[in-house]
Symmetry: none
Subunit: 248 residues, 2 copies
DNA sequence: AAAATAATTGCAAGCTTTTGCGAAATACTG
DNA sequence: CAGTATTTCGCAAAAGCTTGCAATTATTTT
C-alpha cells in the first residue's frame, strides 16, 4: 500500500469518524503504528487534520481547490456564521477579507445589490466576486503561496499601510480564552496583524470546532477584536470566559 | 512497443486502478523498470499523473481536481502555438505572463519539472499554477477588473518597474503589418507596454485568426517584439511582410 | 545508401525514502 | 502520585529511486 493511498484513507475515515486513535488506524490499514503516526504528522503539516493526545481529529480545512466550491451546506455551522456576518455589511463600506474558506464563502454570499469595496490577498476570493457588479475589488499582490492560495510578503504589507478600511473579517485556525487567536503559519500571523491595523474594526468568524483550539502562532489576544461570530448562541457555555468581546 | 503506446497504456491502467507500482508496470508492459520510470516522468511533466515513492497515482485520486479540464483541444491551433511557446522556456527563467486565454493555457501546459518564476497580473493564471511545484508565482496586485479577470492600475505599474524578467509572453487581440499589435482596452495597452519594458524580450503568441485584425489601441509596432509565435508555418503567405520579427 | 545525429533502452552502483522495532519520554487517569 | 496508555526517538533493514554510461535503434543529413 502506498503512503499516499493510506493518507487518503485516513482522511476519508476522519470525515466520517471525527476522531480516531492511531492504534485503530494501524490495525485498520495493516501497517505499523509508526507508519500511521508519520502519515498523520505529514497530514497535519499540510493542515488537513489535527493531532491530539489519543488520536487525530478532523480540521475541516476544505481546500477551495478541491472542488468544494459553493459548498455552504444549508443549515450547517458555516451557513449560520456567514448569515450573521452578512448583517455587519453596509453599503459603501470598505472591507478587508483575507484568505481562508470562511471568507471565501462569505464573499460568495454577499448580496449582489450591496455596494462595497473588498480588499483581499486571495485570488480565489477575488474571482468569487466576479459576478458582484457593485463590489469593487482591490487585489493585494506579492509572492503567491500556492498552498494557501494567498499573496503574502512585504509588497502586501506595504500596500496595506495605505488603507483604512471599515471592517476586517479575519479567518483563524484556533481561538482560545487565554491563548487568543492563533494560526499555523507565522508569516500569515504577521499579515493578519497588519490587516487589523489597516481596518477600523476587526471581526472574527469561526465555527464551533475551532473554539478552544490553539495553534502555533498568536495573532492577538481575544480582546483585541471587536466582535466574534460563531455558529453558537452568544449565551452558550462554550463561550463563557471570553471577556471583552462582543459575541454574536 | 512504441513509447507513446506504452504511455497510453499506463494512463488507461491508472484510470482503472488508481495506483500502480513501477515494478508491476514494468512486468506488465514487458520493458525495463527504467523505461517505465522515464515514461512516468514524462507523463508527470504533462500533469497526467503523480509519481510518488512506491509507484504512481492518478492525480485525480489525490486531488478531487479531476473536473478541472485542460482546455486545449488536441491538434487545435492553440495547441500548436502553445507547444511552440513552451520551447522558449528554460530552467530558472523569470517570465511575465499577462491575462488572456492563450497565456492561461500556456501556464497550464508548463512542464511540472521546469523551474521558473512567473510574474502575472492574472489571478486565474496564478491559480492554474497551483500544482506546479517548481514554479514560483509573483502576483501583481491592484484594482481587479472582473471583466478581464486581471489586476491593473498604478500599483501594478509600480511593482513592474522593479522587475527585469527574461521573457514576456504578450497576449493581444489583433496583429497587423502596419498597425502593429492592438487591443481593445486602453488601460491594458499601457500596461502591456510597461510589461515589455520590464522584460528583456517579448514574445507574442497568436492564433491565425488574429492575424490581420486591428483593434482600438496599439501596444507597439510589430518590430518591437522579439518573436511572433503563430500556429502557421513561418513561411506561410499570411505572414509575408511582417518584417523585423522572428517568426516561429 | 552511407554517415551523422538523435532518441531510446537497459544496466549497475550509489543514494534516498520508507518502515518497524524497542527503549525512553511524555501525557493522561483515578 | 503511581500506573497506564500513548507518543517520540534513534536506528538499521528493506524497498524504491536516480544517475551516468554504453549499447541499440530510429531519424535525418549528406
Amino acid at each position: 500500500m502506498l503512503k499516499e493511498e493510506r493518507q487518503q484513507l485516513i482522511l476519508e475515515h476522519l470525515k466520517a469518524a471525527k476522531k480516531i486513535n492511531l492504534g485503530d488506524l494501524s490495525n485498520m490499514l495493516k501497517v505499523s503504528y509508526d507508519s500511521v503516526r508519520r502519515d498523520v504528522i505529514e497530514l497535519e503539516d499540510k493542515g488537513l487534520l489535527k493531532k491530539v493526545h489519543g488520536g487525530v481529529v478532523s480540521n475541516s480545512y476544505l481546500n477551495i481547490l478541491a472542488g468544494q466550491r459553493k459548498g455552504v451546506k444549508k443549515g450547517g455551522d458555516l451557513e449560520i456564521v456567514i448569515s450573521k456576518a452578512l448583517k455587519f455589511l453596509k453599503n459603501n463600506q470598505i472591507i478587508i477579507l483575507d484568505g481562508g474558506t470562511t471568507n471565501f464563502f462569505l464573499a460568495e454570499q454577499i448580496p449582489k445589490s450591496l455596494t462595497l469595496t473588498v480588499i483581499t490577498n486571495s485570488p480565489p476570493l477575488a474571482m468569487a466576486l466576479n459576478e458582484h457588479e457593485n463590489v469593487e475589488v482591490i487585489l493585494l499582490g506579492g509572492r503567491y503561496y500556492k498552498r494557501y492560495q494567498i499573496a503574502m510578503g512585504p509588497e502586501v504589507s506595504n500596500q496595506l499601510k495605505r488603507f483604512n478600511a471599515d471592517l476586517y473579517f479575519m479567518g483563524v485556525n484556533g481561538i482560545d480564552k487565554t491563548k487568543g487567536l492563533t494560526i499555523r503559519n507565522y508569516e500569515e500571523s504577521i499579515l493578519k496583524q497588519q490587516m487589523m491595523a489597516a481596518a477600523k474594526s476587526t471581526i472574527c468568524c469561526v465555527v464551533e470546532e475551532k473554539i478552544g483550539v490553539v495553534e502555533a502562532y498568536q495573532i492577538c489576544p481575544i480582546e483585541k477584536i471587536d466582535a466574534l461570530i460563531t455558529n453558537l448562541d452568544p449565551e452558550n457555555y462554550s463561550l463563557i470566559g471570553y471577556d471583552g468581546v462582543v459575541m454574536v
